[in-house]
Each structure stands twice: as structure tokens, then as C-alpha cells.
Point group: C2
């Protein structure tokens, strides 16, 4: 009798561990042939202007320079860059406002010209030798100033620079706030422009093969990349092939199409030759994508017991110069507002506004870190106003079990928030410390803060959710698994292997996940974003594994002369369900079937699954800080994140995700901000020396804990975990500083500069 | 009304033409990372012996040498090398007589030790620095001497060095030859050892990834290679991944597993690092594979009208030192004998015999060029004996229409031989020239010769015949096609594209054939051999295209609200069958279906097809020569091949195949022979200077013509063409020399050396 060994819910080693640890894993640059031409881009040195002329004469004289192209040369196919599934309805398509190079430059760092050279030195020299004459235009950097009448117009089609405005109207805010006895709590909350800072900068290379464009790119979204390259070059999408090797992180920056279309175009102007475009860290900071800085205004009318009578939210999202993911980020951020603390009367307005700054796109959390900073900072302000402890307030008013969202159909199936809060509270020793830190007066004061969040899984019903999978049975009973969802460092391939093993009925090490997506052969999938990998790929893996297993059992019926229905695959063997007897190994079955002279067959399976579900992920952060008041310095001393991401496929990989997200959240709360010069729009700290990325040296122990409620809508009980860990960290830190000092600092990061300003305002220094 | 444009039967441009012509096509060496370690092999310098010791001390001291392994180090997993489909029945498996390196060396050039070094120079120096001590053993080079009692024993398990002996017994030869009035015609016919001389020498590289062996190889048979590497290394086959890039010809040499297992093993001894093994032309000649030299003895008892009463054939096939494809080549060669000129009483014996020479394996024609040289030379001898013209004899006695082979079920459906003979005769102006050349007496004499052949398509019913295919629909209505059958320079990918386009209903340029096989994702197929590509892949392409079309029409029903049955796909459009009205383009359908929010689907199809059919290909050669008797030189002045390969998918590619085969046949008949030193067994002309490969300079115009009888068993009416063009060239040349001089030269190549010997024997010089 064979005991079934489960493959999910286990700490199996990452499938790519050896390659990653030994440095053997091949990334884009490792794969690029050394014969490649090198491309470099000339970026705008004005924040807003019209290119009057580009003089390439000197550049073209530099030995090794093959071709110089300018904004006047490129085809005029406007294309969108957001890593969203395509929609055949124009109204749902992303804004197409990009060209390969721009005559109308809209930010310091915009793309004006490009050089293709035989080597990097020649390319760099040539970029410096190009002379550009601009007609400078007035520019605007502040999101609300950009909305004013008379502000510089960045895109003609968008008056007042408003890319989009959406509203929420639940109940009647204006009437409800007239209820007598209400306490009004109001705040403005500011989040900064930050950058993803993945280890591997964006890189791609391109060449022509059999009349088609091949693009190898460090992208999270190969199938989407294929479509956008087609759009940008004005060629049929099937004429584009995109390959995604291992990639060194993306965090959403690579969920945008960055320079793949330009690189492909540059290949076409040199006869289809191999061209590599490897951007620097400085370019990554400025000319890729950044996180939207969002300014949020919240007004809450609260009853003395803390219950909300009416609430209002306004979000001003700084889009930077081009649409990219556009309004969807502000919309998602604002969309989290009515649900976290349900209130019958809510008024919301979100504005996504162009400014003459770096383009904002997707970044881990996709609007939720900004929203949660505002909402959960405000929650502490509300709790304080009604005299409740932050914990008590949340315990009472956070989204209750059974709460259902009418639009997404998401249900809070369990008492998750209480479970998470209790775990976090116990770990951080909340009650004791709240008492201990209650009335501090010295220069060094300690504080403890809490914040919660919820997060969606995937993009349904906003956009298409689909995943496809193919499995191939080998002669030894092992299988290959291909999916369009991408390993981007997060461990997705390992989770895919575990899920496939679970359903087929084989050990995990018998599953070989094809890690590199190649749009020519990889089943269609939209890629890594929206924390969708495990949840969405899980559907097609589950469905395809069941199809493969069915084919295996059909062959088993033929070979064992037992009915298919009486058989099962357990631990890589064909067993009889009745008594668990092993009838043959899957390896023997595969071999016999493949080489059968009477009824040969190569057992494979493929299917695509359209998901029409979504799921709430939940969690909270408890943070403890020590504030040096004279130094205006807040130091994080203790932190715990508690998550309900459903059943964990691989607890240790899940924990690694949590650690990474917490680190990013700590930087968001305490140190990271991309600064633009007010007079010129020039980014001032676009490098890892001046930009204070959170590192291991800045962290206390990062404690991650889980509440594992099996998600009923999910093929394997799992749901979003990739982005959630970053969502509630910054407000927990802000709330801890509030508790320590009594000062509400509503602008992150909580750097000494900002603390000094606030402490001074409040008379502490 | 949409007129259907056909994709087969047309001269479309090769899909890889641009890449091949511009040199951009990536071959194995182009793809290998420059960081690769370099491996080189130390070969035996004795024809037969036991390695007593290997001193690697000096070799290991050479800077850059990483590892030296000897025959004493390698694992003792005996493995077969033939590119045959595996059989789960041990009796049908190929002989496993190879180890990665050999302690018992069996030919000059056998593999004794190998070096892995950081660079080529160090590897070459180290190979030279290794000292080997042999116990030399007696050796034997002649196939019949090897069968004698007391001959040196090459493999213990095979007494008298006979790898295998098979017999044919039809009717009663001994009784039948007693019929009064019969004329006995007897001959011995000798064919030489030749080598394939593909442009790209064998090369492979190997490394470990995720605990698996990856082998990139210039092979015709990636899926078989995977199996043999697994066998040789003693690891499960699913732990091996084989990738086949573009390859520069194979002609059967690369239908053997050559050094892939050794290369993979060498990677394992350096921790899985990338190791490249790039063999030289000299090694390719000696230590890869050669064509079996076969000595054939034929006795025919003929009635005065030319009809055969009884026939006997004996084949002695020189296997060289290891089994490789073994007896199957001699068996196939002898198998062609009873059918070309059906005779009720036939006795046949074929012996495949080990000798201490280079290993014989598959080569274009697989035994048939040897058999046809014997049979068709003998046919002229018979015709002469009964006073018929060679043409008249063949016209009367060649396999008639309706002839059916009991074993393969092959049927000669058409009057093909007469059609082919007539075309060839007309082109060469046979009757006029036969008269003109009838009674020559000068030093320069002209002659004209003819020879015919038949050839199977694929290996059923001897072995498994299966092919599998996958198709993926893109958003622009184009498709990718993956098959396990391999492009090896012959143009297979173009034929695959045409067949897929034909059945799906789209233009050929909308089909993208994935040219590189990767056993992880490419559907199972056994590869390029037995002239099976178009015929066998055609089945699965046809079947899979029909499946894809069905899915397309299902989607069309959904999108057009017409029933599936009333719709068709024509020229890339969905049309209504009734009136031919175009309802939507396939591109629109693909786009709508993929991005549908109500019923999304990625349309793909995959299937495997087990072929239980085979087909006769036919043809003939007419050759005209000028013989300079004092110089003992025969010059080919005119030649035509006529083929019935069924319907041609692409006539100009078919003609290119014919040209290549004719060139190979001309070398076979006139100049090529690998010579071994009698005293040492050392090959004497293993380079392209001393080995007289037939080149463009040696050819007259090569005329290829076709008779296109649609093959009823075939998915697209096509059948074998890859190998047939080489089969009847040499005997046609020999027969032309016979006609010119009256001298039957029964040993090829017809070099001056051999002509001198025969002319002297016959008193001409």
C-alpha cells in the first residue's frame, strides 16, 4: 500500500538553487553573443521641450559607430507600454503615447536619439558627440500644480494634464456627515517617488531571423512584450519572438515594455544584425519606471465609538511624463479604501496626472503601499481622536469575516484579520510594550505601531485572466512543465513544480520546469504581475496535470488491463485504488507507451484556463522604533509581518518573499526617495550611492508569520503573496513614530530632514 | 469567392535561405559560450590491442589542463550507438558494445583517453603528452578473412566475428537451377569504405543544469541522442536534454550517437561545467562512422529470354570494429534483391562481420547503393549473357505495376519504372547513342549505362514509426510548428511549412517552423533518417493541422454564429463554404479568441501519429562516359536521374536533393575510397586532400527529372527522396564503362588504379 506523499505545503529546495548559487544561471547578458553591436541612448537634458535639431555628424565620424538614429527617423507608430493583457475593445486599451524616440521630450531623461556601434566605448563616445538643440518649454513637477489651469500642457489630448479621473460614490457622504456628534478627522498623506532597484538592470538584445524579430529581454512579461514590439514596429505580432531568460528581479519595472521596441528597431536599421541594449543604473532610475508618488487626502467622520459615518478620499497620483500603467494604479489604490474599514457613505476621487518627471509604472504593491500608508496612518489618527488604541480600533472595525466585494466577488471567508493581528500582537509583545512606552519624555523614545492591508490576486474582473500550460512525459516518468507565467527570482518555478507534482502524482524532483519563456513555443500567459503567478498558473497547471494524468491512466488501462477508473498515480507509480498495490512504475508505462509497436503515443497535455475569480490576501505589520529626537532619527528595532496568503505551496520560499517585501517596505518608510531638482527637473540621486536603498544593514530581524486559510477559489488553496509584504510596513513604522513621539509624520520616507521639519513644527526640537 | 491557394507542389523559398546565405544561421559552435572547456580525445595507434597502462602525468602538468580521463576511469555502462528507435524488447535492441573509452581497442582511431582543458592548445598538447602502453593483438581487415576460423576475435560474444547472419529462402533455388537450358551468370561485386564528408564536422557541447545533462549537438536524431546519453551515463533519460541547432549536413554519420555521451561524461567530471568537443576532419573520417564496404556474390540462372529461374545472393558487409547500425544495413541491402527483378526462387545470405577498421554506420542509402551496385552491374552482365540491351532487359523484367511486398505491404501502384526509364532514355538520347557507340575501337571510347533502384520510406515494419507535432496559433493568424523530425540541410523545415500551410489553410509565409529541436519541449520524433522526414512528419503535421483547424472553426462558430461545419479556412480567412464569402480573417479570430473576456482560449494543437505504412520510391540513372583507355581514366560526360518520389512538396528543393545525391553517387562510382594500411590498419587518406571527394569540378550537368505519382499511403502523396538519388549512379557509370570498353569492372570506385588492373586483365592495355 503506497502512502501518497504530498508535494505542496513543503519546503522543497528551489529548482534553480544550484544555478543561482554557483553563478551558472544564464541571464540575458550571459546569453548575448559577443559579436553583438552595442546600442546606447541619448537622453533629454531638459525637462520639457521640442527637439529642434539633432546634429549627428561628429558622432558618425567616431570609429566603430555603425548607425545613429534620431527622433526624426523613427516610425510614427504610437504604442502603449503597460504590461496589461491586451483588450480588443479600444476603450479598455492602454494609452498609446510612446514613440521609439521623442521629438517632444517630456522629462529629463526622455529618449532623443540612439547609437549603434561596434563596441561600448564607441557607442558612449558617440552619444556624447551628438548635439541637440531644444526649444525649451515650461515644465511642472508637482502633481496638484500640474492640474491647475495654465499649467504647462504635457500631452495635448489631456487637459489640465489629467490622464484620468475616477470616482466612488457609495451612500451619501454629504448627508451622512451631517449626523450630529461626529468627530472629523482629516489628513494629507504623501508618498515619494521610488525606484524598484532590482539587481539586474534592464537589458535586452534583438536580431532578425527568418524575417522575424527576435527579442531576448529581461522582462516579466514575454507574451505582452511580443505584442508591444509588434505594435511599436508596425508589424504583425506573430513576426515577433520574445525569449525571457533568468532575470535578476523586476518588481514591476519589467512589467512595462522598456526598451525592447527600440532595440528591435535598431536591429532593423542595421540589417537585422544582433544589437544589445544594456542600460545603466542611472538610466534605470530615470528612464525606466518609478513608483507613483501619490498624495492622498482623507476626511473621516467618526462616531465617538469609532465607527465611521462618512468618509472621503482624494488621490493625486503623479504619473510622470507618459501614461505607462496610467490610472490603474491610482484606481487600485483608491479601490482598497472602501473595503478595509467598510463604511456605508464613501466618496472617492482619484486623479492620475502627468508631470515632467520620470514615468511611473507598476511597482510591487501597485498603488496599495501608497493607499495603505494614507489609510493606515489615518486610521491611527482616527483611533487617537476617539481615544482607542490602534490595535483595539482595528480589531473592531477591520473588514469582517464574510465581507463580500460586489465587483470582484472577493469574499473574506475566514476571520483572517483577527488571526493575523493576534499573531503579530503576540510576537511583538504589544500590550506590555504599549504600557511600557506610554509616557516617555527623554531624548530617546520608543514606539510601537501597527498597520493592516488587503490585496487582490490577479486582475480579474478588470482585465483578462488566463494561463496556459503544457506538460510532456519523459521515458523515465518525469515531466516537463511549460507555462507563460515567469520566474523572476521569486521562486515561481519551484511552486509550479510542486503543484504539477501534486496533481500528476509524482515526486517534485521528477518535474522539470522550463524556466525560459519563448513566445514561439511557450503556452500563452501574461506573465509575472499582480501577485498572480501561483494562483493563476495554478489553475492551468492543475487542469493540464489532470489531463496528462488522464492520458497516463488510459495508457495504464491498456497496459495493466485494469479499468482506468480503478487506477491512480501515486508517488510515480500506477497503483490500484482498491488495495494500493503498485502495478507498474510510471517510468515503465511511459517507456512502453512511447515505444509500443501496436499503439504508440507520446503523452503530453496542454490547456488554457480562463480564471474568472480573484481572492483577497490579508495581513498586517507590527513595527517597533526607537526615535532619537535631537538627531531626528527613527530606527526600526523590531518588526513582524503576518500574512494570510492561503495555503503556502512552499513555506520557506513564501517566507523569503515576505522578507524581501518587508525590506522594500522599510526603505519606503525610512529612507528611499528619488529627488528631482526644482529648477531643472533633473533627477539628483539616480544612483545607489545617493539613493538610500534599504539594505540588510538597515534591518532588524525580519519576522514573517503566516495564517494559512485554504483559499476556496484557488486550485491549490493559495493566493497573492508576492506584493502584499510591502503594503503595511511604512504605515506601521509611521504609527510607531507617532506612538513614540506624539507626532504624526504624514510624509515618507521618515528621513531626518522630514522628521526635523515635523518635530520643529510640533516643538520637540 | 476566395480561390484556395495551394501551398504544396510549389517552389517556395527555403525558410532558412536568408540565414544560410548570409551566414547568420547559428550552428553548434556558434552557440557555444566562449567560456567552454575544450575536450580532446586520444585515439588508439594500434588496430587491435589491450591498453596496459596510460601515463597521464606529463599531460596533467601542462598549464590549462583541467582533467585527464582514461579508459580505466569511465563507467562501465555498455551502450548502443545506432540512431534507431528504441525497442522495449531486448531481442530488437541494438547491440550495446560501446564504452565511453576503451581498454580493448579494436581499430586504429579507437578512443583511449580524453583531456579537458581551458583551451584548445593545452588540450592538444596534453593529448600528445599522454603515454599509452598497448599489448598488441593480431588484427584483420578483410571481411571474409575475418570470418575464417582462427581469425583474430574482435568481440568475444561473436564467434568468427559474425555480428549477424540472415537468410532469404524463397521457392527452391537448388531445384530451380536444375531447369534445363539455363544460362548461369555469376559475379562478385565490391564496394568501398567511404565517408559522409558533411561540411560541418561532428561537434557537441555539454553542461549540467538543474541536476540534468544538457547536450547541444550536431545530430540528426536529438530524441534518440537523449536516450543513448542516458544509457551511457547510467542516468534516467528524463535527466538528459538534447538541443539540435542548425547542422551542416549529416548523411547518416550523425544518425549515430558519436561523442555526445563522452562529452556529457567529461562535463560531469568537471563539476557540470560547459565542455565542448569539436572533432577534426581527420577524426571524422576515422573515428566517426563510414559506409559499409560490402562484397556481394550473385549467381543468376537465366532462361534464354532473360527471365530468371533461380537466383542466389551473398553479402559480406564490413562492420568495422563496433556494431553501430550493425546488420540492418546488410539486411536492407539484401532485402532489395528479391524485389527489383522478382524471381520465384531466391536464396540469400547476408553476413555482417567485425573487422579492425573504422566503424561502419548509416550512410545515405543505407545498404542500397552497395546492393544496387551489385545487382544492377549484374543485371548488365545478365543482359549481355542473353543478348538483350540493358534497357530492353530492364523494361521487361523490372518490378511490374501492382507488385506487392508481403512483409512491408509496399505496393508498386503505378507503372513507375517504365515512366522513369522512358524519361531518362529520352533525355540521354539512348537509342541513337547506343548505335553510335556500338563498335568503337580507338583509345577514347564512349559508353552509355543505365541502372535502376527501389527504396523504402521510413523503417516500418522493422521498427517503430512515429512522429508528433505541435502547432501554436499567433494573434496575427500565423502559426508555429514543432516536430521532432530534423532540418539537417535538406530543406525539411520548408516542406513542413508547406504541408502545415496546406492543411490549416494559410499562406506558407504564415508558418514558422521551430527549426531547433529541444527534447524538453519538442514533440517526440525519431529524427532524420530512412528518407522519412516528409512522409512521416507529414502524417502528424496533417493530423495536427486538422486538429488546429477544428479548434479554429469552433472559435469561428462562436464568433461568426455560423455552424462549424459550414465554415472553412482558406488563404488565412474564415470563409463560408456555401458561397465562399470571407467572414473574418484568421488574424481577427485569433485575436478575439485569445483576448476574449467571456471565453478566452489559446488555440494550439498537438498529436502523435504512429505510421504503419511504408512506400516504395523508384528511379533510375542514365550515365554517359568517355573512357581514355591508355590513361585508364573514365570521365562522366552526361547523367540523368529520374525519380518517382510521389507528389513533390517543393520541386526545386526536391531537385536540390537529387543533385546532392547524384554528386555523392558520382564520387562513389569514380573516386572515393578510404584506404587502410594493410600492415598496420592505419587509415592512409583521412583528409580531404588525399580522399577524392566528388566535387562540382568533377561533374557534368546534373540532370534530375521526376515522375510524380501521388503516393496513396501518404498524407501529402509524397515518399522517400533524400537517399534515393545516390542509389543507382555508380552502377550506371560502371555499365557505361562496360558498354564503352566491354570490360566489366566490378569494384568501385573506377579509379585509374582499378581500371588499369582490369584493362590489363582484359588485354586492353
Amino acid at each position: 500500500m503506497e502512502e501518497r506523499e504530498h508535494a505542496v505545503g513543503k519546503n522543497v529546495k528551489r529548482v534553480d538553487a544550484f544555478e543561482k548559487v554557483t553563478g551558472r544561471a544564464k541571464y540575458t547578458d550571459d546569453l548575448c553573443d559577443k559579436s553583438a553591436y552595442v546600442a546606447k541612448i541619448l537622453h533629454s537634458t531638459v525637462a520639457h521641450g521640442i527637439v529642434k535639431s539633432v546634429d549627428t555628424a561628429e558622432a558618425e565620424k567616431i570609429p566603430g559607430v555603425v548607425k545613429v538614429v534620431t527622433c526624426f527617423d523613427v516610425p510614427k507608430y504610437y504604442f502603449p507600454t503597460a504590461g496589461h493583457p491586451w483588450s480588443t475593445e479600444p476603450a479598455h486599451q492602454d494609452v498609446s503615447d510612446r514613440l521609439l524616440l521623442q521629438e517632444h521630450v517630456r522629462f529629463y531623461g526622455d529618449d532623443v536619439a540612439a547609437v549603434v556601434a561596434e563596441n561600448e566605448v564607441a557607442a558612449a563616445q558617440a552619444v556624447r558627440a551628438i548635439k541637440v538643440e531644444y526649444e525649451e518649454l515650461p515644465f511642472v513637477l508637482d502633481v496638484q500644480k500640474a492640474m491647475e489651469d495654465g499649467a504647462p500642457q504635457i500631452h495635448e489630448e489631456f487637459p489640465n494634464n489629467i490622464l484620468k479621473h475616477t470616482s466612488i460614490r457609495n451612500g451619501n457622504y454629504e448627508e451622512a456627515r451631517k449626523e450630529p456628534g461626529l468627530i472629523k478627522v482629516e489628513g494629507w498623506y504623501d508618498t515619494p517617488t521610488v525606484q524598484h532597484c532590482h539587481i539586474e538592470n534592464f537589458i535586452c538584445y534583438s536580431y532578425m531571423e527568418q524575417g522575424r524579430m527576435v527579442v531576448v529581454s529581461s522582462t516579466q512579461i514575454p507574451h505582452i512584450c511580443r505584442r508591444v514590439v509588434g505594435q511599436a514596429l508596425g508589424i504583425p505580432w506573430g513576426k515577433v519572438r520574445v525569449i525571457k531568460p533568468y532575470i535578476g528581479g523586476g518588481f514591476g519595472n519589467k512589467q512595462d515594455i522598456l526598451y525592447e521596441p527600440l532595440c528591435a528597431y535598431l536591429s532593423t536599421v542595421v540589417g537585422g544584425r544582433l544589437v544589445k541594449l544594456d542600460v545603466s543604473r542611472e538610466e534605470t532610475f530615470v528612464s525606466n519606471r518609478v513608483r507613483h508618488a501619490i498624495r492622498t487626502h482623507i476626511i473621516s467622520y467618526v462616531r465617538p465609538d469609532g465607527s465611521f459615518a462618512a468618509r472621503k478620499i482624494e488621490c493625486f497620483s503623479d504619473q510622470g511624463a507618459y501614461a505607462s500603467h496610467g490610472h490603474s494604479i491610482a484606481a487600485k489604490g483608491m479601490g482598497a479604501f472602501p473595503q478595509l474599514y467598510p463604511c456605508p457613505n464613501v466618496e472617492g476621487d482619484a486623479y492620475t496626472v502627468f508631470t515632467n518627471k520620470s514615468v511611473a509604472g507598476a511597482m510591487r504593491g501597485y498603488g496599495i503601499p501608497q493607499a495603505m500608508f494614507a489609510v493606515e496612518s489615518h486610521t491611527d489618527d482616527v483611533a487617537k481622536a476617539v481615544g482607542m488604541s490602534p490595535f483595539e480600533f482595528r480589531w473592531k472595525y477591520l473588514m469582517p469575516k464574510g465581507f463580500t466585494d460586489g465587483f470582484s466577488k472577493n469574499v473574506n471567508y475566514f476571520d483572517t484579520f483577527h488571526q493575523c493581528m493576534e499573531k503579530g500582537k503576540a510576537y511583538i509583545d504589544y500590550d506590555r510594550k504599549m504600557k511600557e512606552y506610554a509616557d516617555q519624555t527623554g531624548e530617546i523614545r520608543k514606539g510601537i505601531g501597527v498597520a493592516a492591508f488587503w490585496y487582490n490576486t490577479g486582475v480579474w474582473p478588470i482585465s483578462l485572466e488566463t494561463s496556459a500550460c503544457r506538460m510532456v512525459l519523459n521515458q523515465d516518468g518525469s515531466i516537463q512543465v511549460q507555462v507563460g507565467e515567469t520566474e523572476i527570482g521569486q521562486g515561481a518555478d519551484t511552486a509550479f513544480a510542486q503543484m504539477a507534482a501534486e496533481t500528476v502524482g509524482i515526486p517534485v524532483d521528477m518535474v522539470h520546469v522550463v524556466t525560459n519563456q519563448d513566445t514561439d513555443v511557450t503556452p500563452f500567459g501574461t506573465g509575472a504581475y499582480a501577485s498572480r503567478q501561483t494562483y493563476m498558473a495554478g489553475f492551468s497547471i492543475n487542469q493540464t496535470a489532470a489531463l496528462l494524468k488522464n492520458r497516463i491512466l488510459e495508457a495504464a488501462q491498456e497496459l495493466t488491463r485494469h479499468t482506468k477508473e480503478s487506477l491512480d498515480v501515486v508517488n510515480g507509480n500506477i497503483i490500484r485504488r482498491g488495495d494500493g498495490e503498485v502495478l507498474m512504475s510510471l517510468a515503465d508505462l511511459a517507456l512502453e507507451k512511447l515505444y509500443s509497436l501496436t499503439n504508440n503515443g507520446h503523452l503530453t497535455a496542454e490547456s488554457s484556463y480562463q480564471a474568472k475569480t480573484n481572492a483577497y490576501s490579508f495581513g498586517c505589520t507590527f513595527a517597533e522604533v526607537e526615535v532619537d529626537i535631537p538627531a531626528c532619527r527613527a530606527t526600526l528595532t523590531n518588526i513582524v509581518n503576518v500574512h494570510d496568503a492561503g495555503q503556502l505551496i512552499n513555506p520557506s520560499l513564501a517566507l523569503a518573499q515576505v522578507h524581501g517585501g518587508m525590506s522594500m517596505g522599510i526603505g519606503y518608510g525610512l529612507s528611499e526617495r528619488l529627488i528631482f531638482d526644482e529648477r531643472t527637473g533633473k533627477p539628483l540621486n539616480n544612483n545607489l550611492l545617493d539613493y538610500k536603498l534599504s539594505t540588510f544593514m538597515d534591518h532588524p530581524h525580519l519576522e514573517g508569520q503566516f495564517v494559512e486559510n485554504y483559499e476556496p477559489t484557488s486550485a491549490y488553496g493559495t493566493k497573492a503573496l508576492g506584493e502584499p509584504p510591502v503594503c503595511s510596513v511604512a504605515p506601521a513604522i509611521r504609527n510607531a513614530v507617532l506612538m513614540a513621539t506624539g507626532v504624526a509624520v504624514d510624509e515618507i520616507p521618515l528621513t531626518p530632514h522630514i522628521l526635523f521639519k515635523r518635530f520643529k513644527e510640533e516643538g520637540l526640537v
